[in-house]
Symmetry: C2
Subunit: 498 residues, 2 copies
């Protein structure tokens, strides 16, 4: 067997352990009984350590070195590039720290769920303290030139830095603040109370699964369950798991499912022959989020989409008010500063991200202490969104990320919003009347375009290169700012260009 | 760190891989999308091989050797005894064969499900052919003195042999055949049509979960889902998963759940400090089955139990006929030769086992070919039960075991039936009026007795030693033959002792 083949076999073994760990995580969030938390944390800690040890072993590193000369095609070269970068990151972090983090993460999740349920920040504070301590340790091991944050955020988005994020946010901050101001001053506000009601779980499950299936999520290679905080995971390109949640606010499940289905279709779109290899799956969190936002917001919050699906929604939920399409379209695009990020509208969403970005930078550098987080959080909400959370459950306890030690992750959400419009602009140029496709329920050309331009490349090209290949530019906020401004000027009857 | 401690750490690592594999299996049977079968098979194959390699490595074997002198208590000595036996079995089977079997087992399960759904034996035949081929290879590696079957059945029941099983079956065969004959001649037959109806899945789930909870299954450390072929598995003593199935025949879910809850409570009853160690969990399939049968048959098919639960059943299923207790009691104990093992009554059940035992011995030795299995199966059903399956789905395709390569397993079911009565006889001597406890819904003394006598010992004592410690005898069929004869003489108004 060639050394390249040996490397692939070894990577498949590591993949099996990582996918087992991912299944444990999915089960943890969807089904696992509470009493199992301790054992699950131990098991996940061990599996993380074993995978880490195998991945960073001398043997694997030697196989990578020795395989270079055997690379006969650009896929293999790309695979080696990805593996080298990941090994480089992984070897810098000691195995004990990886295991410690995984263990804290599993127990931290349980604690976070309870803290949120009981609105008890003090219960969660020690986890947060430990998690940011681990993050500082990680950053120290990874190394950085300008800012401690750079070391961590690069793990989620290749090449990202605090300076880059600051620049990105500066491009959208003023236009967003301005747009929110103009919308507020318009005095117009659609009624979204139509979404509140006693919606049966089975009806919500049926309707959202139909939507996911129609846009192209393959249920023969995936499924949907419920979780407290919806997510998408996968154990193979042929085994992608969506989650959603069923609330008295019907829009939550609908847009939650479309969002996760966007992630899911990206994963399902990797070439089958790359399964279990490092090239399979989404290339970065930013690109990933661009896909979830494409299907949630650009498709799912379009008038054309609901031209087709509003009658079906009314059929699935007989007690849903018989509102006309335009009223419904306005309701799903209501812009209003609110407390919960995952249910925020497209315009204010990035303000939620800016709060989290500033909070995690401040916690990481020690500019604020964990005990001061609730006050800091609340003051930022007041500053950016003009509202103050009435409690921590609806405030700084609302997100799962920090309980898992995902620090440096939040800005990729905003990046995703921006990239989704950047890709969509090009898609529309290539496909023509996309609204006509959507209102006819013909999502195949859209999915196929994304499939051929983005999904099928998996992790082959670094994110900036992928974006440049598809759109000619790396990150460009103009399509997002233009698109969102135009959409909401029309929705709120604002005078264009003011 | 002591060598014993090093060994324990290593065993915990292997446990983590094995438990991940068990979770993959549970997910496979309960939730996994069909398209994922290939990747899951690969992942499970790899994890099995890794665990096998770690368990049988020189390093582990050296740690076992070196730990002997450090054993300071009988728990550690017992742990070493168990590990030595398992390493001995595992080192005899090459890693490649273990992986091949695990892979075939995962794909084989998919094939079996489809073959059963479409009543297509030919679809399943190649899997069976391969699986019995693997079994013969395994037996060759394990070695045996008298019969090829001995090598395999010892894996499930320490010390079991074909000669032993032949002897056990000879003790119960005549009394059972005689009892079935007398019941048939009585001309009396209760009406069990009361169980057929359109029972809502949610009502079946709610009622069966209530039963499992009441008898003592801890839902904070376990859960129940549905599967085509109900089973119980666990990933920790604090994470035990039951499965059941919801059919138009209500008794299926009720007794299925009580059966699996019996397995589940045994697993939940291991000492917490043994979790992730080889001492945790049920000691053998025969002892395990004695617990499932205790709760399914001895408790669950008693008049006293339904004195309490019949009113609750009627409340949970408003369309259930308002039958009196005695009629219900007779209906759940109707003895009638039937086609499906898992729904067979207590008296004919072991005849189903005898068919499978003879079939697998014949397939293993080559006395019959795979292609002849349906005919052989059907002729045995005619011979023992006086009925012929109308198709293979209700015939030789009904059981999951062979698709997983579990050959030598079936006789442990009959052993379980026998041991359940043997243990119950002693329990009644110790606890007094057990019927009064059950009719009052007071299962705690029963569970605590089993807990203190059986469950808390995990795998510490070999099965025969455990039975001897509790009842003074290893395996004794008399309590079973006496108990079952007395129960059904009363139910069918037979003249005692004829």
């Amino acid at each position: 067997m060639s050394r390249l083949q040996n490397l692939k076999t070894r990577l498949a073994e590591i993949n099996a352990i990582n996918m087992a760990n991912a299944l444990m995580d999915w089960d943890h969030q969807c089904f696992m009984p509470h009493g199992a938390a301790e054992a699950r944390a131990q098991h996940q800690g061990i599996l993380s350590r074993l995978a880490h040890e195998m991945f960073t072993s001398d043997e694997t590193q030697r196989l990578v070195q020795d395989s270079v000369s055997e690379c006969a095609n650009e896929d293999d070269s790309a695979m080696l590039r990805v593996v080298k970068r990941e090994i480089d990151q992984a070897t810098k972090i000691p195995a004990e720290l990886v295991e410690k983090k995984m263990r804290l993460s599993a127990l931290g999740h349980e604690t976070w769920v309870r803290a949120r349920q009981t609105n008890d920040f003090n219960l969660f504070a020690p986890v947060l303290e430990d998690m940011f301590g681990i993050a500082r340790e990680e950053a120290g091991h990874l190394g950085y030139t300008d800012h401690v944050y750079d070391a961590l955020t690069d793990l989620y988005e290749e090449g990202a830095t605090k300076a880059g994020w600051d620049s990105m946010f500066s491009m959208i901050k003023l236009p967003l603040v301005e747009l929110v101001r103009r919308i507020k001053e318009s005095g117009e506000q659609p009624d979204d109370s139509i979404f509140y009601g006693q919606w049966e779980d089975t009806a919500q499950a049926g309707f959202t699964e139909m939507l996911a299936k129609d846009v192209g999520f393959d249920f023969d290679r995936g499924r949907q369950d419920t979780a407290a905080h919806p997510f998408c995971t996968n154990f193979s390109v042929n085994d992608v798991r969506l989650t959603t949640r069923f609330k008295p606010y019907l829009a939550s499940a609908i847009f939650g499912t479309l969002h996760e289905a966007g992630h899911g279709m990206y994963e399902q779109g990797s070439p089958g022959e790359w399964d279990m290899s490092p090239l399979a799956g989404g290339v970065s969190l930013g690109i990933h989020e661009s896909q979830s936002r494409t299907w949630e917001n650009i498709v799912g919050r379009s008038r054309a989409f609901w031209q087709r699906y509003l009658p079906k929604l009314k059929a699935a939920f007989p007690s849903f008010p018989d509102v006309p399409l335009d009223q419904f379209y306005k309701a799903i695009n209501k812009v209003e500063p609110s407390l919960i990020r995952v249910e925020a509208d497209e315009v204010t969403y990035n303000l939620h991200i800016m709060v989290r970005y500033e909070v995690e930078c401040a916690l990481l550098t020690g500019a604020i202490a964990v005990k001061d987080l609730p006050d800091f959080w609340n003051s930022k909400y007041e500053e950016y969104l003009g509202i103050t959370p009435p409690n921590d459950a609806e405030g700084c306890l609302q997100d799962v990320h920090w309980s898992a030690g995902s620090i440096g992750y939040f800005p990729t959400y905003s990046m995703g919003n921006i990239l989704s419009y950047q890709l969509w602009e090009k898609l529309c140029k290539d496909l023509g009347d996309v609204d006509a496709l959507m209102s006819a329920g013909n999502f195949t050309p859209i999915l196929e375009w994304l499939q051929s331009k983005v999904y099928r490349h998996g992790k082959k090209y670094p994110p900036a290169e992928l974006m440049t290949r598809v759109t000619g530019r790396a990150l460009d906020a103009r399509p997002y700012v233009d698109g969102i401004t135009k959409k909401y000027e029309a929705l709120y009857s604002l005078t264009a260009g003011v």
